[in-house]
């Protein structure tokens, strides 16, 4: 690890500064969406479909309207009169705001009640009568694409089947050639199950539209307030200068708070029509059944390998379950997100990826749950495949990886699907993790345990992520380029305010972004206030998700701080009566080259910026930068998990979990480790227990925290964290994103460990979640 260059009292890059935001959050002084309590606020509750697929023949809201305290019952027909019954999705599809014709999944929004308090609003829901005509539900994408399957999207012009999209990438010819040369082909068919980000705080909105001025102040749990402002302007037709989105403290996002949900649109329309603020806060069940699911990919991967364990090529067929509307949050031109990063950490020449998505009678979503647009699924597939290939070839899974890694001298490395990896040293990372876990000894212990009838497994995942979307030539969301920004103002007393286009949901921006400025200008991090989330007070940006804050917003922050450093040097030169080029800046002190006793501080310079300037210079010390990243950044890691499986019950326990992460330069190592521990816990959850499933009628199983399992400290293994630090060559401070690495990388490590425990029996796949009954059945079947 690189030592910090600034002293602790400045707290630049590399210092594990305590999080500046924690005091207010821990002491109950946070300001979350539901804390916002405007005068005359009305409350909204949403009536949701109990059925997965049904025609709506009529809605009778008379009894609900008659209830004391009810102001309005909003239906799809009413929304339709204002052109708002449907809205665009982030993937170019349309989504129902309130159902007009059919309901297409259980939990779909059918009507909304606006009342004087939330109890009355909920009471009124029970008085609305909907005449449903049941239709056969389609609950799997395979079923959905069968000949003669009922058409889910019958309202969509030109849609004659349930296909949501097709997309392919890579070189099919070269891949066929590679497979022709292979000694063997290793195949894995696996399902990455549907999960949900399940942030602690659910989604919500307070829409406050002034009927006289037209000012729309929208408080919402938004990971991307600026993008949402523009989308509100485009969808609702409100003039953008009158829209102010305020995203207050957010209790976790994980991708769940990227999309615009129907509830937001209805609450906004209701506030516009009634002229009072309207608040809507999801219940836990609403959050789990209707907003932003993730994953749900059925993947078939084939790896062409030689008898020496060299990978020659990769072929992937993927079928995604999109639910009723195609609403993936993703860079527009890639239908399956960045799934083509599926070539992983390995050097081979050919790959071909063939994807399609199907509509089903399930909730829409496809959000990037703590991952950079479908990278989690891709990373899981390649790491499972490589492990299985090692078994087939007959070499150790670690050796298999070492034989195929992209080597440090090959960077920048262009993959078979066109990503250009920026930097890395994969062999060192894996070997370091292996040394830490005691890999050779573990393999011996495993063999001894097997002789006693005990099942120990060692699983490896060496993932490479692609984060920090993204370069404008390739990346946009709904046409908006994925740039981001920072505005820095240094006040006369040398204190500063930094305004960001990105938005923290717990990542610690208020601390880490101040540290970037502290590093460059030498203003103590604790003297720098970081503002974010209010579109009236921050520069434009696409928001925080897909580990893009540090790669894009962090880069903007470094660049704007450097702009101010350049101006500051000129001011210092003026104060010190020296030439501009002779001024050196270190830890907030400007000195003259060769005479270090001649110096002024950044605080002196800040005052001078408003009081005493060189001839012709403009007053003030502030600037703004919009950063268009030249490339993504590619963090990676080597994870090793050791499990013991109870052969009588299939129950497995994690014995060790060693996680080495390389995210380039670490701005705040403590916060990085916190991110990694959180991500590993979520990865463990998905591998062990967490999924949203449906019965054959399309009823969602996983609609509350009794059924959708979030692990506690009790279940969560202890993590042993390691780091290497290969900087990103193109990022201004060498940093890469890290928020999602551990969620992306760890599921394969956990699953590979369980497979490894029973691989000698011939088991090659157990789908996630790796529930004990699945493990026991796999052992039974193999024995």
């Amino acid at each position: 690890m690189v030592a910090p260059t600034t002293p602790a009292e400045i707290g630049g890059i590399g210092h594990s500064l305590q999080r500046k935001e924690d005091a207010r959050l821990i002491e109950g002084q946070g300001n979350f969406l539901d804390d916002i309590d405007l005068p005359n606020t009305l409350h909204m509750a949403i009536l949701r479909s109990p059925l997965a697929h049904a025609r709506i023949n009529g809605i009778d809201s008379e009894a609900a309207m008659a209830l004391d305290g009810v102001l309005a019952v909003v239906t799809g027909d009413l929304m339709d009169q204002h052109g708002l019954a449907w809205m665009p999705t982030l993937s170019g599809d349309t989504q129902a705001v309130l159902a007009t014709d059919k309901v297409r999944y259980q939990g779909q929004e059918v009507a909304a009640v606006i009342a004087t308090d939330p109890y009355i609003a909920t009471d009124a829901l029970e008085l609305i009568e909907v005449d449903y005509e049941e239709l056969p539900p389609i609950t799997t994408p395979q079923q959905s694409l069968e000949e003669g399957a009922a058409l889910i999207r019958d309202e969509k012009e030109g849609q004659t089947d349930n296909l949501a999209y097709t997309w392919e990438t890579g070189d099919q010819g070269a891949t066929e050639e590679a497979f022709a040369k292979a000694d063997r082909v290793v195949t894995l068919e696996t399902h990455y199950p549907r999960s949900h980000p399940a942030p602690l705080e659910t989604c919500g909105i307070v829409a406050d539209i002034n009927s006289v001025t037209g000012q729309a102040t929208i408080y919402m749990t938004s990971q991307a307030p600026h993008a949402h402002r523009t989308l509100f302007a485009m969808v609702a037709g409100l003039p953008e200068q009158n829209i102010r989105i305020v995203s207050p403290d957010i209790g976790g996002g994980f991708g769940n708070k990227v999309p615009i949900y129907p509830g937001y649109v209805v609450a906004t329309a209701a506030s516009l029509l009634i002229g009072q603020p309207v608040k809507w806060v999801e219940s836990r069940t609403e959050n789990l059944i209707s907003t932003g699911f993730a994953r749900d990919y059925y993947m078939k991967g084939e790896l062409a390998v030689t008898d020496e364990g060299r990978i020659l090529g990769l072929r992937v067929n993927m079928l995604s379950d999109q639910g009723a509307f195609y609403s993936d949050a993703q860079p527009t031109q890639f239908r399956a997100g960045l799934f083509h990063v599926v070539t992983g950490s390995y050097d081979f020449p050919a790959a071909h990826i063939d994807c399609k998505g199907a509509f089903t009678n399930k909730a829409p979503g496809g959000v990037a749950y703590r991952c950079s647009f479908r990278i989690t699924e891709a990373s899981y597939l390649i790491e499972r495949l490589v492990q299985n290939a090692a078994y087939e070839v007959g070499i150790d899974p670690a050796e298999m990886r070492l034989r195929n890694f992209i080597q440090p001298e090959q960077f920048p490395y262009e993959t078979a699907t066109g990503f250009v990896y920026d930097s890395g040293d994969y062999p060192t990372a894996l070997r370091t993790a292996m040394d830490e876990v005691g890999y050779e000894d573990l393999r011996r212990e495993q063999a001894e345990a097997r002789a006693e009838g005990r099942l120990i497994g060692i699983g490896i995942a060496h993932f490479t992520e692609a984060v920090g979307a993204g370069p404008s030539r390739t990346y946009d969301i709904a046409g908006l380029k994925m740039i981001d920004s920072a505005e820095l103002r240094v006040h006369p007393t040398g204190k500063a305010i930094l305004k960001l286009g990105v938005k923290t949901q717990g990542q610690g921006h208020e601390t880490t972004f101040a540290q970037i400025v502290a590093e460059v200008l030498g203003i103590p991090a604790n003297d720098i206030k970081v503002e974010h989330g209010d579109t009236n007070h921050t520069p434009y940006g696409l928001g925080t998700y897909a580990s893009r804050s540090t790669p894009v917003g962090g880069a903007a922050t470094a660049v704007v701080a450097r702009k101010l450093a350049d101006k500051s040097k000129k001011i210092a030169a003026h104060l010190l009566e020296a030439a501009d080029e002779d001024i050196e800046l270190a830890s907030g002190v400007f000195s003259v080259a060769g005479s270090p006793d001649r110096s002024v501080t950044i605080q002196d310079v800040a005052l001078a910026a408003y009081t005493n300037l060189p001839e012709g210079m403009e007053y003030g010390l502030e600037d703004v930068t919009y950063y268009d990243p030249p490339n993504l950044t590619y963090p990676y890691g080597s994870y090793i998990v050791v499990v013991e499986v109870d052969p009588d019950t299939g129950v497995w326990q994690v014995q060790r979990m060693v996680a080495l992460d390389d995210c380039g330069v670490r701005i705040n190592p403590m916060i990085v480790e916190g991110q990694i521990c959180g991500g590993l816990t979520e990865g463990f959850a998905m591998s062990a227990m967490q999924w949203i499933t449906f019965d054959e009628d399309g009823n969602c199983i996983g609609a509350n925290f009794m059924d959708y399992l979030v692990p506690t400290a009790w279940e969560t293994p202890r993590f042993e964290l390691l780091a290497t630090e290969v900087p990103s060559p193109h990022h201004p401070i060498g940093a890469k994103g890290v928020g999602e690495s551990a969620t992306v990388g760890s599921p394969a490590a956990f699953v590979n460990a369980v497979i490894d425990a029973v691989a000698h029996l011939g088991v090659r796949n157990i789908d996630m979640p790796v529930l004990p009954d699945r493990v026991w059945a796999a052992i039974e079947e193999a024995s």
Partner: protein
């Protein structure tokens, strides 16, 4: 999550509580820890018209041994059972497996027993130890054996005007041991499968009394009577417990669901019965 409208009666004595229940009739529900009832109300699957809060009633919070029994009052929280040194065997073993620490701090053992959730832990322990439920109604107090008390899933033979005021669990006088083995998906989850075992040994080391009951694998918590009868009079052994485990597996009628397949659940019953009885025997032999 907003419940529908209800009236609240705060009772100061058992008599007041019973009287309030008589007044409220079918629409009345007693509120102790509320760890099942309140979530059901917030999810609007329960709509009591009147809640009768018994938390202020004095004298119901004791857990103590008296006259050869462990007596547990209606306001004894699961956490009190965990902390108590009056418990024994399967009772002590089960307590830390009930729900999660938050629920254990408020939820009551009697409330859980009265709720008769087949996925609840306590009724299996009561079956294995042969406990009684004490109920009080307008006509006074009566004692109901757990076998007579549990009527079905979420239903008991408790009268509409009766309140469960306590439990009476016989404390073995000789050597004894017990265990509660629970497979759950995470802390706070209901049992996927759980097995309560209870063994008493005579002077020769033979089993003089045996209790065995299963959680979550039948429509109600299930006492495995044939396995109990099989074990009485026998010396503890791996073979005996394996045989008992087969009877337990046969008594289980689990279903395929999101927690796992029926075949696997039966296998867990088999495994946990063997392991639970072995642990109970080991504890008894060391007592």
């Amino acid at each position: 999550m907003f419940p529908s409208r209800f009236d609240l009666v705060v009772a100061q004595t058992v008599a007041e509580a019973v009287e309030a229940k008589v007044d409220a009739g079918e629409g009345g529900r007693f509120l102790a820890g509320g760890q099942s009832l309140i979530p059901m109300m917030k999810m609007r699957v329960a709509f009591p018209e009147t809640l009768i809060d018994i938390n202020r009633i004095g004298g119901l919070d004791a857990i103590e041994r008296a006259n050869g029994h462990l007596r547990v009052g209606a306001l004894v929280r699961h956490a009190d059972v965990v902390a108590s040194d009056a418990t024994f065997g399967a009772v002590a073993s089960a307590a830390p497996w009930v729900a999660d620490p938050l629920v254990r701090n408020r939820g009551t053992m009697c409330g859980s027993v009265a709720h008769c959730d087949p996925e609840g832990d306590w009724n299996s322990v009561l079956f294995a130890t042969g406990a009684d439920v004490i109920a009080q109604g307008p006509g006074g107090e009566r004692s109901i054996s757990i076998a007579d008390f549990v009527d079905g899933a979420f239903t008991s033979t408790l009268g509409e005007e009766e309140l469960v005021v306590g439990l009476r669990i016989p404390v073995p006088s000789g050597r004894s041991g017990g265990a509660y083995l629970k497979l759950e998906r995470k802390i706070g989850d209901y049992a996927t499968v759980a097995v309560a075992s209870h063994l008493e040994l005579d002077d020769s080391g033979a089993i003089s009394a045996a209790g065995l009951a299963l959680t979550s694998v039948n429509p109600i918590n299930t006492k495995v009577g044939d396995a109990e009868a099989l074990m009485v009079g026998q010396q503890p052994s791996e073979e005996l417990f394996a045989e008992a485990a087969e009877l337990a597996a046969a008594a289980a009628e689990p279903r395929d669901d999101v927690r796992g397949t029926a075949a696997w659940k039966r296998q867990v019953v088999r495994t946990y019965t063997k392991r639970g009885l072995a642990a109970a025997a080991q504890q008894a032999e060391g007592s």
